[in-house]
Amino acid sequence: MATVETRGIKKYYGDVLAVNGIDLLTQDGEFLVLLGPSGCGKTTLLRMIAGFETPSEGELLIGGEVVNDLPPRARKIAMVFQSYALYPHMTVYKNIAFPLKAQRVAKSAIPQKVEWAASLFGIGHLLQRKPRELSGGERQRVALARALVREPSVFLLDEPLSNLDAQLRASARDELQQFQRRIGTTTIYVTHDQVEAMGLGDRVVVMKAGTVRQIGTPQVIYHEPADTFVARFVGSPPMNLVQHRDYILGFRPEHFLPKGSQNGAAKPVPFSFRVTRVEYLGADRLLYGTLPGAFADQKVISRLPSTVTVNIEPEKTYDFTVDEKELKFFDGTTELRISARPV
């Protein structure tokens, strides 16, 4: 077990600043997710932690020890790649045994360990196959088994689920989390998929343009976004953000409901909502429209659960409300979160 810490990590590629001063500290055994759009520097950060890239500035600590100058193999880490990166010429057994041999584990102990790792992921029957004879899901399990077999102190995962189909991804996500809870190894997981990030992470690090925008539990990230970028990036559909006076007002589509359907709303704030389009999604209805009047027809979305049965038709204006405690306020210029204002 170990913690990972970055202190003011920067990475330049020529003149391009890919990672701009990142300070992170994982807790022991934590599942930390790096979330951000492509090009935000999350993979570069992970590759620096793994040792494939050298930080241009700053310090990197694993288990309290500065590892800037250590090669990947000396960092006691394991990594699962997006492509799985299985050795194509080796059988599954040899793939899983490779890190053990490389670390000079006693020959007699290897078969037992390989079988233990294989059984953890239910791939014991595939040991004599070559990677090309496996399905995507099976390859992913082999990659996990290979990473896990030598019991690393830190587990790094670079979008390991993105090559699986949607159904498999959901079950793999579930298994991955259960497995991480069981072995309790500090895990850093990179993804651009906010559903994955929210579902898996103990804490989520939201990144943009090489900087950290917010670190927090999925609940905090979702309900208390630190700025408009986080508010927009997390959640689907994203948070409604409307310019109002000198600030930006934000509220989630699921909190924007027809007047009277808000049970237990402490203080409903009224809006009139002109619906332009209704999208029926089974469990939910998505209402696209604008806020007339003081909000100058800015676009917003409402998400009605199927339990709200009010009849809504396009091209009509309705009275909607948002519970006051669900209104978020952001500075009009810095776009950072500010304290509540009168609406």
């Binding site: 793994a50 040792g51 494939f52 090669p71 990947p72 193999r73 880490i77 394991a78 990594m79 790649f81 997006q82 492509s83 799985y84 990166a85 299985l86 050795y87 194509p88 010429h89 490779f98 890190p99 041999k101 490389a102 670390q103 290979r146 030598r150």
Partner: protein
């Protein structure tokens, strides 16, 4: 000339077309004829410059023809029987294998090392790549003439260098005049000649390995040697075999370096079958025996070539 009217209906235009029809089946429309036409020159080239001489050689090898004579009688396998028994032939056969196997070993080792180095990014990489490719694009005769000077008994730049660094005193080595040195010298030149192609092919093989695989190996704890021998080498093995087979065929059949540097000497210690066939058949005038010598390795080369083709097809699939 009338401007086409954009609003005119389609029918008259179509009628217009049918009134001045293009030739119904132009040769360029027929896949069969055009195909034959395009591949024709290549087939002709191979038939005239490879096929005809090959079958002539086949027949010469079982005849009693000479460059000066008029006779062309069938004599069976007598030429082969005559040739195989001579010490000259047996020396050349042995030399051929020594030359081919040693030079290919040197080439495989060096090209692997070079490709590994060139795969990395460093300053001046393009220049180095260009310099390494140079022996392949420079005419081989010019190259070997330069080598002739490098190996010259009096003006050898090698001897001069060795003398300057104090490794030898006095006369220096007769690079092309002493049996083992001469063989070593032609192997060195041949390796220099083939190294670029081998390196480029291996570089292509190396760059086809995904970067993730290398990253995985380094994070899995593999050091340089384990990484190379257990991950990189097995993955470029098929393409290395292509390099080897190609090099073998090329070496078994080529004599230009030997012809330019040693003429097979001293005392036939660098004589290979290809050069012996030339000296016997063309310079010596005994076309029949020369043909027999040059055809001696044909079954072996055919087997190598077939293996090469099979391998090429297999590597294509994976």
């Amino acid at each position: 000339m009338q401007r086409p009217n954009p609003t005119s209906p389609i029918l008259p235009a179509a009628a217009n077309l049918s009134r001045s029809p293009r030739p119904a089946s132009s040769i360029f429309d027929s896949e069969r004829w055009l195909g034959s036409l395009l591949i024709g020159p290549a087939v002709l080239y191979i038939v005239l410059l490879v096929g005809v001489p090959f079958f002539m050689a086949l027949y010469y090898s079982v005849s009693d023809t000479t460059t000066g004579g008029q006779t062309l009688r069938f004599v069976g396998l007598r030429n082969f029987a005559n040739v195989i028994g001579t010490p000259k032939f047996q020396t050349a056969l042995k030399n051929t294998f020594v030359f081919a196997l040693l030079s290919q070993t040197v080439i495989l080792l060096l090209s692997n090392a070079l490709a590994l180095v060139l795969q990395n990014d460093f300053r001046g990489k393009r220049l180095i790549r260009f310099l390494i490719l140079l022996p392949w694009v420079a005419p081989i005769s010019i190259g070997t003439i330069a080598w002739l000077w490098i190996f010259d008994s009096t003006y050898s730049v090698l001897n001069w260098t060795l003398r300057m660094i104090g490794a030898i005193h006095g006369q220096g080595f007769m690079w092309l005049g002493v049996p083992h040195l001469a063989m070593g010298s032609i192997i060195a030149v041949h390796a220099w000649r083939q190294l670029p192609l081998a390196t480029v092919i291996l570089l292509a093989g190396l760059s086809s390995i995904p970067k993730d695989i290398h990253d995985a190996a380094s994070v899995d704890g593999a050091g340089f040697w384990r990484h190379y021998f257990q991950v990189t080498l097995p993955l470029i093995l098929p393409i290395s075999l292509v390099v080897l087979l190609f090099g073998l065929v090329f070496t078994f059949t080529d004599m230009i370096i030997i012809y330019n540097l040693t003429r097979g000497g001293p005392y036939d210690t660098t004589q290979v079958l290809a050069s012996l066939a030339f000296y016997t058949g063309i310079a010596g005038g005994d076309l029949a025996e020369g043909a027999a010598i040059s055809l001696f390795l044909f079954p072996l080369l055919l087997a190598v070539a077939l293996a090469f083709l099979r391998l090429a097809r297999r590597t294509e699939v994976t």
